[in-house]
C-alpha cells in the first residue's frame, strides 16, 4: 500500500459516524455513504422497527406479532471479522418461518451487500438506500432521482421499484404507485418479507383510492405471507375501525 492510500485508510478510520450524512447537494449527485469504522457498522437488520411516517404508534401491532429481538452473535462475529453482514440479514433472519409466524423486519438495504454482491447491484442498493433517506425527509424529487438512478444501474433491483411505488404513494399518485408495485411484485417472488410489503402498500393505495374491498384483500394477502406486516395490520385496523374515509 503506498503512502497516500495509507493516509486515506487512516483518515477513513478516524472519521466519526456522523459523517455518513453528506451535504444535501452531495446527496443528489454523489452517493457518499462512508465506510464507518467497525464499531459503527450498521446491524444487518434493525432490532427495533423504525417508525414509519404513515404508521402512528397507537396502531402498532400487538407485541407478540412484532419481530423478535435480533440474536447478537452473528452481528458480533461480523464486527470482529470486519466483514459486511450477510445479505438478507442474519442466517436466523433468512430462515423460512413457520406458517403463521411473523417474518423478521428486513429494512437495511446496505446489509444486503456482501463481497459476493455483483458491483452494479451493490451500487444500486446504495442509491436505493440514499433515496430511502431522502424519502424519509419527504424530499420526493431527489428521492425519485435516486431510485431512478439506481434502476439505471441495475434494473433488476426490486427495492428501487418498491420505493418508487412508495414515493408515488406518498405524493398521492396512487395509480403510478400501483404500477410500480406490479413490477416490484414480479421481482420479489423469492422474498416473502418484501412481497408482503408490496401487497401491504398495494392495500394502502387501494384504500386511498377508495377501493376498500381490494384494499382488504391486499392486506389479507400481505398478512398471509407475513402475519407481522405492520403496514398491513395497521391498514386492516383502519379499515375495520372505519375511522377514515378514504379520499377518492
Amino acid at each position: 500500500m503506498d503512502r497516500k492510500r495509507m493516509l486515506f485508510a487512516q483518515r477513513r478510520a478516524r472519521r466519526p459516524a456522523g459523517c455518513r450524512a453528506g451535504s444535501l447537494f452531495l446527496a443528489l449527485a454523489v452517493s457518499a455513504a462512508c465506510a464507518p469504522p467497525a464499531t459503527h457498522r450498521a446491524p444487518p437488520r434493525l432490532s427495533t422497527p423504525a417508525p414509519s411516517a404513515e404508521a402512528p404508534r397507537a396502531s402498532l401491532p400487538p407485541a407478540e406479532t412484532r419481530p423478535a429481538p435480533e440474536p447478537a452473535k452473528p452481528l458480533e462475529k461480523a464486527r470482529k471479522e470486519n466483514l459486511p453482514a450477510p445479505p438478507g440479514g442474519t442466517p436466523e433472519a433468512r430462515r423460512t418461518p413457520a406458517p403463521g409466524e411473523a417474518l423478521p423486519e428486513d429494512s437495511s438495504l446496505i446489509a444486503k451487500i456482501s463481497p459476493q454482491t455483483p458491483p452494479r447491484r451493490a451500487a444500486s442498493l446504495r442509491l436505493t438506500e440514499e433515496g430511502r433517506k431522502l424519502l424519509a425527509r419527504e424530499d420526493y424529487t431527489r428521492a425519485l432521482a435516486s431510485f431512478e438512478r439506481s434502476i439505471a444501474i441495475d434494473a433488476t433491483n426490486p427495492y428501487s421499484y418498491y420505493y418508487l411505488a412508495k414515493t408515488h404513494y406518498q405524493q398521492g399518485r396512487y395509480q403510478e404507485s400501483l404500477n410500480f408495485l406490479d413490477v416490484a411484485e414480479s421481482r420479489f417472488a423469492e422474498d416473502p418479507y418484501w412481497l408482503a410489503e408490496t401487497w401491504a402498500l398495494r392495500g394502502e393505495n387501494f384504500r386511498a383510492l377508495g377501493f376498500l374491498q381490494r384494499a382488504e384483500s391486499s392486506y389479507a394477502r400481505a398478512l398471509k405471507i407475513n402475519p407481522g406486516s405492520r403496514t398491513a395490520l395497521q391498514g386492516m385496523n383502519r379499515l375495520r375501525a372505519g375511522s377514515e374515509r378514504a379520499p377518492r
Binding site: 477513513r12 449527485a29 452494479r120 451493490a122 431527489r142 431512478e148 434502476i151 414480479s186
Partner: protein, 784 residues
C-alpha cells in the same frame, strides 16, 4: 435702379427665411431622430438585452466501484467534458493520471443539476483489471460508492447565432480586470461623455502616419452601441449614428451601467458554433475559472483578446496569446495598475495549450426529435432566447456506435450487393437505428439516416414502413395468451402447427401468402414456426387465435399506428415506425411492463429552477410469465433461427430478437434485445424501391455490430424466469417430452400446468435394460 436692389433684398430675405425654415426643420428632424434613437437605446438598456440559447444535454455518466471503465476510457470522457490534463488537481476542471495508470485524480466541475447545485471537489478514481476499484473524495478522504459525471452538451437551440454568455454584475468582475480592459480599450472612459475627441485625433494621426487603419478612436460606449444596434460596416453614416447613440447612452445611464453592459456584451472568441460573449464566459472558456479566480496574467490576456479574439486565442496560438498578454501587462505596469513584482511574476506565468472541444451535434436526428417534442410545450422564442437547459436520456457513447454501425453497415451492404448502389443519389440505400433501455423506456440513441447532411428525414419516427415478419411475435403472444378464438384450444411453445400452403378465405376474398423462398416444413412446433419465421404456419395460428386478438396484443405492447383487423396483419402488412416497434418489443424485454418512452427528462429554466420533470412511467400490460415465454422463444431466433448469423458474427450474449422482411422485400428489419438494451434496425429505400434482401441479410449485421460494441464490458445478463414457469425438454419434431433417444431436445418454458405430458412418440425411450444402464443419458439439449 432701385428695383433690382429691392428684388435682391427680397431674394436674400426669401433665402434667409427658407434657410431658417430648413434649419428649423432640420432641428425638428434631429430632435425627432435623437428621440427615436433614445427610444432604441432605452428599450435595449431596460428590456431584454440578450438572447440565451437553450442547451440540450446528454444523460449523466454514473461511475461506481466494479463498473468496467478503465483509465483510458475515463480520460476520454473527461476530455470531452472539457477537463484539462494537468500536473495536479488544484483547480476545478483539472485532472491527472498516475504514471502507471492505476488512478486518475480529477477535480470535478460545479454543475447545476435539476435537483440542485453540485459543488465540485477533487476525487481519486482507482482502477484494477479494467474496472473501477475504488473512489474517494480527496479533500475529505470519504469513500464514494457512486459518482455522477455531468452530462455532455449535445446541441444548442438558437435563432441565428449561438451566443454563449454568462451575465455578471459589475461588482462580480475583479476591479483589476476592469482597469486592464479600460487601459487597452478606452483609457479615458471615465473622462469622456460617450465620444472622445482626443482618442479620435490620436487615432487619426497614427493612421495617417502609418498610412493605414491601425488604431480606432472608438470609446467603449461606442463599441457597446455598435454591438447592440449596428453592424460591422465601415461607413460614415454608421459612425455618426454610433456616436450619437453613445452620447445618448452616456446622458441617460451611468458609467457603471454602461461598463457592466459592455463587460457582458463583448465578443471574446469562438468555440465551434458557439460564440463566446462577455468576460465571465471567456474566463470559463479560456481558463476554466470563475472571474474571481483569475490571475493577473489571465486578466491581462482577457483584456488583450478583445481587439482580435480569434487571432490571440490561446487555443489557436500560445505564442500569439503570450505576446498579446505581455503587451497588456506592460501597459498595466506603465499605468501603475500593477507593481513591477506583479508584472515580473505574471510574465513567468505560462499559458497552457488547450484542446478546443466543440459541440459536434453528434445526435442530429435525436435533437430534431426533441425539437418536435419541446415545441408542444415551449414557444420558439422561449427555446431560442430563454436559456432553457434540457436534460435528456441520450447516451453519447451508444449514439456514436449506433451512427457508425448504421453508416458502415449500409456501406458494406452496397459493397457486397452492387445492385444497391446503382440507383444514384436520389434513390440511395438508407436505414435507421433506435436504441432503448427497456426498463426505463429511455431512448439512448437514435440515427434517422446514414447521412444527416444529405437527408434530414428521420426514419426512426417519420418513416412508416411495413414491419413484415417483425410483427409475427404479436401473433404468437396472442396465441399463448388467448388460445384459440373459440376457447377450445390452448397454445404452448410445443403445440404442433401445419406449415403447408394455405388459403385464408376472409369476407369473400382469398388470401394465399407463400413462405419465404417457397419452402414449407410440414408439421412444426410453434417454436420452430417462429424461429424459422414460417408464413403459412403463422397465419394458421393467427386464424385460430383471431386477428382481433393479434391486433389487441400489438396495441397493448405499444404499437400506436392504426391497425386494420385483416388477415394480412399477421404478416405485418401494416405501416409502423421503427420507434413503435422498439416500444412494443421493449415491453417484452421488460417482463411485460410497458414503459413510456423517455427522451426529455428535465427542463430547467435560466434561474436553475425545474420547469418540467418527466419520470419513468410503467404499466404492466402482460404477465411476466407470458413475456418470459416470448423472450425464451425469441432467443431461439438468434440461437437457431433466422438470426443465427449474429452468433456467427460473434455476438454471444443471451438475447432475443426477430428478423423482418416484407413480402416484396422493400423493407428489412431486425429487432433484438438483451434484458438491458434493445435496438431496432430498419434498412430500405425512401421511395419504396425493392431492396431484394431479407432482414437477416441487411438489418441483422448492423444490429449485431452495434450490440457487440455497445455491450462490450457490461455484465452479461439473461432473462430470469418468474414463478409459474416450468421448464421441460421437448423434442422439436414431435413437440412432446424428449426421451434419451431424441436426437435433439430444446428446453422449453411452459406456464405451470400446461406442460405436455406425453413422451416423444417419434423417438420412444428404450427398454428396461437401456434405462438401467443409462439412467442419466444426456441429450444434446439446446437451452433456448
Amino acid at each position: 435702379m432701385k428695383k433690382p436692389r429691392l428684388s435682391r433684398l427680397k431674394i436674400i430675405a426669401a433665402l434667409s427665411i427658407f434657410s431658417a425654415l430648413v434649419l428649423v426643420g432640420l432641428a425638428f428632424f434631429m430632435a425627432w431622430y435623437v428621440k427615436e434613437l433614445e427610444g432604441e437605446v432605452t428599450k435595449k438598456f431596460e428590456g431584454q438585452k440578450w438572447k440565451f440559447p437553450s442547451k440540450i444535454y446528454s444523460d449523466t455518466y454514473l461511475l461506481y466501484p466494479g463498473i468496467n471503465v478503465d483509465a483510458r476510457e475515463l480520460q476520454e470522457k473527461l476530455r470531452r467534458l472539457g477537463y484539462r490534463l494537468a500536473q495536479g488537481t488544484k483547480s476545478k476542471g483539472e485532472y491527472r493520471v498516475a504514471k502507471n495508470g492505476a488512478f486518475i485524480d480529477v477535480h470535478l466541475h460545479d454543475f447545476d443539476y435539476p435537483g440542485g447545485r453540485f459543488e465540485g471537489f477533487p476525487v481519486r478514481i482507482e482502477f484494477r483489471g479494467g474496472a473501477i476499484e475504488r473512489m474517494a473524495n480527496l479533500a475529505s478522504g470519504e469513500e464514494l460508492f457512486s459518482l455522477e459525471l455531468e452530462p455532455e452538451l449535445i446541441a444548442g437551440l438558437y435563432d441565428r447565432i449561438w451566443e454563449e454568455r454568462r451575465v455578471v454584475r459589475l461588482s462580480e468582475v475583479p476591479p483589476l480586470l476592469v482597469k486592464a480592459i479600460l487601459a487597452v480599450e478606452d483609457e479615458r472612459f471615465f473622462r469622456h461623455r460617450g465620444i472622445d475627441p482626443v482618442a479620435i485625433l490620436r487615432a487619426a494621426w497614427v493612421n495617417l502616419t502609418s498610412r493605414g487603419i491601425v488604431q480606432g478612436g472608438s470609446t467603449l460606449t461606442q463599441q457597446l452601441m455598435k454591438n447592440f444596434f449596428l453592424g460591422d460596416e465601415r461607413t460614415v453614416q454608421r459612425k455618426l449614428k454610433e456616436a450619437l447613440m453613445a452620447l445618448i447612452a452616456e446622458r441617460k445611464y451611468s458609467k457603471e451601467e454602461i461598463l457592466e453592459n459592455y463587460l457582458n456584451e463583448i465578443y471574446l472568441g469562438q468555440k465551434g458554433a458557439q460564440g463566446i460573449f462577455g468576460v465571465s464566459e471567456a474566463a470559463q472558456f479560456y481558463f476554466g475559472k470563475e472571474l474571481r479566480d483569475l490571475t493577473v496574467g489571465e486578466m491581462a490576456l482577457t483584456a488583450g483578446l478583445i481587439r482580435a479574439p480569434n487571432r490571440y486565442s490561446p487555443y489557436r496560438s500560445v505564442e500569439a496569446a503570450t505576446q498579446r498578454r505581455n503587451v497588456v501587462l506592460a501597459k498595466m505596469r506603465d499605468l501603475g495598475l500593477i507593481t513591477r513584482a506583479q508584472y515580473e511574476k505574471s510574465l513567468r506565468e505560462t499559458i497552457q495549450p488547450r484542446e478546443l472541444i466543440k459541440v459536434a451535434n453528434d445526435a442530429p436526428s435525436f435533437v430534431d426529435f426533441l425539437r418536435k417534442e419541446l415545441a408542444e410545450n415551449y414557444s420558439h422564442e422561449a427555446l431560442t432566447a430563454e436559456g432553457l437547459r434540457i436534460f435528456t436520456s441520450l447516451d453519447l457513447k451508444l449514439q456514436k456506435i449506433a451512427e457508425s454501425s448504421l453508416a458502415q453497415g449500409l456501406k458494406r451492404l452496397e459493397e457486397a450487393y452492387p445492385f444497391l448502389r446503382k440507383r444514384g443519389a436520389e434513390d440511395r440505400l438508407d436505414g435507421a437505428i433506435v436504441v432503448i433501455k427497456p426498463q426505463t423506456g429511455e431512448i439512448k440513441a437514435m440515427a434517422g439516416g446514414r447521412d444527416y447532411q444529405a437527408s434530414q428525414f428521420n426514419r426512426v419516427v417519420q418513416a412508416k414502413r411495413q414491419p413484415g415478419s417483425v410483427f409475427k411475435p404479436f401473433v404468437y403472444l396472442a396465441a399463448l395468451m388467448y388460445g384459440s378464438e373459440d376457447g377450445s384450444k390452448r397454445f404452448t411453445p410445443a403445440t404442433l402447427v401445419e406449415d403447408a400452403p394455405f388459403v385464408w378465405s376472409y369476407e369473400g376474398q382469398e388470401w394465399k401468402p407463400d413462405n419465404y423462398r417457397g419452402e414449407y416444413f410440414g408439421t412444426v412446433t410453434l417454436r420452430t414456426a417462429l424461429e424459422k419465421s414460417l408464413n403459412a404456419a403463422t397465419i394458421r395460428i393467427a386464424r385460430e387465435t383471431g386477428v382481433r386478438n393479434v391486433r389487441e396484443v400489438a396495441y397493448r405492447l405499444g404499437i400506436q399506428s392504426s391497425l386494420p383487423a385483416l388477415p394480412s396483419l399477421a404478416l405485418g402488412a401494416v405501416e409502423v415506425t421503427p420507434l413503435e416497434v422498439a416500444a412494443a418489443f421493449s415491453t417484452l424485454a421488460n417482463n411485460g411492463v410497458r414503459t413510456q418512452l423517455l427522451s426529455i427528462k428535465h427542463v430547467m429554466g435560466q434561474q436553475a429552477h425545474v420547469l418540467e420533470r418527466r419520470d419513468i412511467r410503467v404499466r404492466k400490460v402482460i404477465s411476466p410469465q407470458l413475456a418470459f415465454m416470448m423472450n425464451h422463444l425469441l432467443k431461439g431466433v438468434l440461437d437457431r433461427g433466422t438470426a443465427a448469423a449474429a452468433r456467427a458474427q460473434g455476438f454471444t450474449r443471451p438475447a432475443a430478437g426477430k428478423t423482418g422482411t416484407t413480402n416484396d422485400t422493400k423493407d428489412a428489419w431486425f429487432v433484438g434485445y438483451t434484458p438491458d438494451l434493445l435496438a431496432v434496425v430498419w434498412v430500405g429505400f425512401d421511395n419504396q424501391s425493392k431492396l431484394g434482401l431479407s432482414g437477416s441479410q441487411a438489418a441483422l449485421p448492423i444490429w449485431t455490430d452495434f450490440m457487440k460494441r455497445a455491450t462490450e464490458g457490461t455484465p452479461v445478463t439473461d432473462f430470469v424466469a418468474p414463478p409459474g414457469i416450468s421448464f421441460v425438454d421437448i423434442d422439436p419434431l414431435s413437440g412432446q417430452r424428449a426421451t434419451p433417444n431424441c436426437p435433439q431436445a430444446i428446453q422449453e418454458a411452459f406456464l405451470e400446468g400446461e406442460e405436455p405430458t406425453a413422451t416423444c412418440q417419434l423417438h420412444p425411450a428404450g427398454g428396461w435394460l437401456e434405462k438401467k444402464l443409462f439412467p442419466f443419458s444426456s441429450l444434446p439439449t439446446f437451452r433456448g
